[in-house]
Symmetry: C2
Subunit: 232 residues, 2 copies
């Protein structure tokens, strides 16, 4: 009941964050209960709850019923990056996006990738290969298979002007997926990216699933110089 000013859950959030960062609440320490904090800061318990919940979601606090709330000993924070349209990604980097279809055919999906996506050998797929450009220069090579069981419309879709990436974002009811970044030699994509086959490049393997079914598997091979930037 000492402080009068900081009402609002953000104010409570900031005040708690300050106490954590200044070690007024040291790592591992049990902090006052919601009721006490609400009384001290002059707000309702629900307000304190909202603030502390956000901090817990950020990994700075650990909350357990009955046991109370304590400051995380070794905070394992989450880094985030936004997954968006490749064209948008290129625009964000201040370049003019371009797109060129290389092939849209029925090249069979390799068994290893069928397994990664979780579809059987009989599920029909469509194969799309394309190149995305930034200011006219190769930006990323896209090599994709789409499950026609999940997206029958993909069989007749025209990928010459709209990339499969964007088409799927617009049409597929995607719910979750996995990303797998690795470093590799450019290999077969080298000719499209305008570099040597031995040049180290970033490779992204992505599997995407709808609420019920696997949708697509794609390998994106980025041109040399690509950086994956994230914030914590």
């Amino acid at each position: 009941m000492s402080r009068a000013a900081p009402t609002g859950w953000q104010a409570v959030h900031d005040e708690a964050l300050r106490r954590i960062q200044t070690r007024e609440w040291p790592p591992g320490a049990l902090i006052p209960g919601e009721e006490d904090l609400a009384a001290e800061l002059g707000c309702a318990r629900a307000t304190v709850n909202r603030a502390l919940r956000e901090l817990a979601e950020a990994g700075l606090l650990e909350r357990r019923r009955k046991a109370g709330t304590r400051v995380t000993e070794v905070p394992s924070r989450r880094a985030q990056m936004s997954i968006s349209r490749i064209a948008e990604e290129i625009e964000t980097r201040g370049a003019r996006p371009g797109y060129a279809l290389i092939a849209a055919d029925d090249t069979p999906m390799p068994p290893a990738r069928r397994h990664a996506l979780g579809i059987g050998p009989d599920t029909p797929t469509r194969h799309v290969e394309a190149l995305h450009l930034a200011d006219g220069a190769p930006y990323v090579h896209e090599n994709r298979w789409i499950s026609l069981a999940a997206m029958p419309a993909a069989a007749s879709a025209d990928f010459t002007t709209m990339s499969a990436n964007e088409w799927l974002l617009r049409h597929a009811p995607f719910s979750h997926g996995t990303l797998d970044y690795s470093a590799a030699a450019a290999g077969e994509a080298a000719s499209h990216l305008g570099c040597d086959a031995q040049t180290p490049v970033m490779v992204l393997d992505r599997a995407t699933f709808g609420p019920e079914t696997p949708i697509t598997w794609v390998r994106l091979t980025y041109a040399p110089g690509f950086h994956l930037h994230m914030k914590i």
Copy 2:
């Protein structure tokens, strides 16, 4: 007021998610207001608010005062990865973590990296070079500079048994930072990683800041075969 069962914000969240995924609420559509939904689902407006707020944070809905809530046209979802102790990262991969200090000295920080971290040429730093092992094999090479202005205790810290990574996680009041993954040839780190200098490897440049001051800059060079795995 038709449905009786789904009380609880998670139920409302799931129901809204279902309507988005089934395109009962198609992309771009304006969905019913909180008041209406609360009446329909038989719960309080605050409960609907909580559910829709979560979906908005996940990037599936866009909410604006007065304008209402609409389904995101092209959802740009966020991928998450957890940043943790390197030892923990190795354990997660099912291996026994190991650590070997290579050097702890006063090697000056290169100007480019001083700039990336945002500290002037007069700020004293400490340099630490180390190798992290997984089941005895090289896992990642760590090359780090710590600002002694932010962390004076780092000047006398012993990094022979505890890595600088872990020491900082325990002692530095870190608030935010940037991650920058790229693919590169192993180069100077090759000898430590047991590979050729030309081998493509993943490189992570990380700058870490406290609430007020820059703390540390580190380059982690991962051994060949490393994959960065994320979920959406």
